[in-house]
Symmetry: C2
Subunit: 341 residues, 2 copies
DNA sequence: GTACTCTACTGATACGCGCAACTGAAGCGC
DNA sequence: GCGCTTCAGTTGCGCGTATCAGTAGAGTAC
């Protein structure tokens, strides 16, 4: 009579616990736990199981994540720490799929925009995730700190793979390679590379540029002519000037991303240059604006679903102690060919 | 002798607990708790406090969030459930500031991209946040479920304010108003409204459009000519046709956002129309591409910092049981005037 | 009838922490 | 010497769950 049934008016109705379910089903808390968790090697007849499940459903019982985390030492959360550079729609849909795919494995996916001046450790304190995923590789002592805090694994999405499965092998070089191959196939022999003005993304840009460089070397083209392109009218004009006055003249540009590619297209128009006739441009990301720009923008699109599934697989393998998956040869990305090339 | 001191080689080193700190400092666990939490009304001399703090630092002690959450019934996490529509850089920087500002109040901010087919409740189970923030208003029974799960408060960022502080008063009408006023000030008498093709954002679009409508009425202009603008070449061309053939002809367009505004500019150019001479265009968001497009795009920019601070204040007030803050008259947003108008 | 096994559970403990209640000693007024 | 207060802590409970170790009872073996 002390329990549930209907809390007295005014009093906060407590959420039901396993004990409430046990009481209602006429069994012990242990049995409830065994039934609801399908604990193996426990002999419990189906009738009892039914009774427990019914009681749980009646009460709207939901196990307390906090209590579970307390026992297990970690919660069922996968924490992605966002980088300080702006994330666009591509990342957005990657996260969406990650959320789904990790959910299928019983993990809850959350992201945390890292606030400047706050140590990363403050975040684990509040979440105790099963795994921490970052964009760039954490230093060894950060990883040590994580382990000391009881979080075993961390994974970086981008960075130089270290072979220990700690850094995911997402081939940004491949992105640059696709750009360069596409332009080379269209007959361009002298490529430019539009380097982002934002220094925060230079890690990524470096990798993509390397892909372009290698491809140029492989195909016998000249080194790509790298020019920084800040997102200002002047910045774009300068870069265009660099490419147009180079000798031999740059006839096609690989841009770090679509924002920069679009800026170059617009800048070219301003100077009376025709895209793609005077200058071909290829971006990365397939932003919404890319398909309706004038001219429409050729770009490299990531298969975010495939990417998310690959990342999920890696994460789950880590957590289960299985060896890292063999990297698929090409993590889905492809050239969307439009008017700008 | 059973405890700590140095785990045998091979064994996982357990993370230090308050008991370890207590042992090292030569006090009881309770004292450790009192010292580290600065619990008021506890008389503990500074020397002892120092000893405890030193021991904690030596061991690298970090309190277990799980245990704390278990006692308090909620964690110190503010959970933002992302909408299913794509989020852009504006939201990104809003989140960044939210993370910082909430952090100042001891809350950890995380976002969860909602995965289709998974009930929202699965997420609370795994996080037990102090507060759940959504973009659109949850239904009453979802809110009830939340409360039954022990989470007292939820807040929606956008939606019709209900006066109970449950829905934040972020004036999207104001956005439309600023757009319309800007165009009217430039002498335009017949406005168009570019309605987003994506139905998922219609709640927001509705509010912004209402702002435009009211402003037109206030200023004695005709009703805005609303045309849907899907992000395809055809879609844009159709909308332009609608506006150009209307009588009187539409001379300026308020777009739901910059993506659509840029698409309209590009589409106009394709048809040989001059922007802003034949058609003025104003967007919302100030995307990176807006400042370097051709022509550069006039747009409404949100002051994400001010917005984040307002949201933070509201959340903290809710959690502390203080009344909702008076809505600032204008939550920072302003027109960035460029070439397209 | 005893010894053993198997079924179907239950009891108790531990996880790490916060907090209420208690204690032992010192200080103080008279 | 007594009662009272303040100091400086400690003991112990409870949050909700997972899980190990146990156990009453039924069934079988001989």
């Amino acid at each position: 009579m002390t329990s549930s049934s209907r809390a007295p008016k005014g009093a906060k109705r407590r959420r039901p616990t396993a004990a409430d379910v046990a009481h209602r089903a006429g069994v012990s808390r242990a049995t409830v736990s065994y039934v609801l968790n399908n604990t193996p090697h426990q002999v419990i007849p189906e009738t009892t199981r039914e009774r427990v499940r019914a009681a749980a459903a009646d009460l709207g019982y939901t196990p307390s994540a906090a209590a579970r985390a307390l026992i297990k030492g970690r919660s069922d959360v996968a924490l992605l720490v966002l980088p300080d550079w702006p994330i666009g729609p591509t990342m957005g849909s990657l996260f969406e799929r990650l959320s789904y795919a990790l959910g299928e494995h019983g993990l809850t996916f959350v992201t945390h925009p890292r606030a400047a001046g706050r140590p990363l450790s403050d975040v684990w304190k509040a979440i105790t995730p099963a795994i921490v995923v970052t964009f760039e590789d954490l230093g060894q002592d950060e990883i040590d700190k994580l382990e000391r805090a009881g979080i075993d694994y961390s994974v970086a999405l981008f960075g130089d793979p270290r072979g220990d499965g700690r850094v995911m092998d997402i081939p940004q070089q491949q992105t640059g390679r696709l750009q360069a191959e596409h332009l080379a196939a269209a007959g361009h022999r002298t490529l430019g590379y539009a380097w982002p003005g934002d220094p925060r993304v230079s890690t990524l840009a470096e990798q993509r540029l390397n892909g372009v460089r290698r491809t140029c070397a492989d195909l016998g083209l000249a080194e790509p002519n790298v020019a920084p392109v800040p997102l200002t009218l002047d910045g774009v004009a300068q870069a265009l000037h660099t490419w147009r006055t180079a000798s031999p003249t740059v006839t096609a540009v690989c841009a770090y991303n679509d924002d920069i590619a679009l800026a170059i297209c617009a800048g070219a128009q301003r100077q009376g240059l025709a895209v793609p006739h005077d200058l071909a441009v290829i971006g990365v990301d397939d932003l919404p604006a890319a398909s309706v720009a004038s001219p429409t923008l050729t770009t490299v699109r990531f298969d975010t679903n495939a990417l998310a599934d690959y990342i999920t697989d890696s994460i789950v393998r880590r957590l289960e102690g299985r060896p890292a998956a063999k990297q698929p040869t090409v993590v889905g990305q492809s050239v969307i060919c439009r008017e700008s090339t």
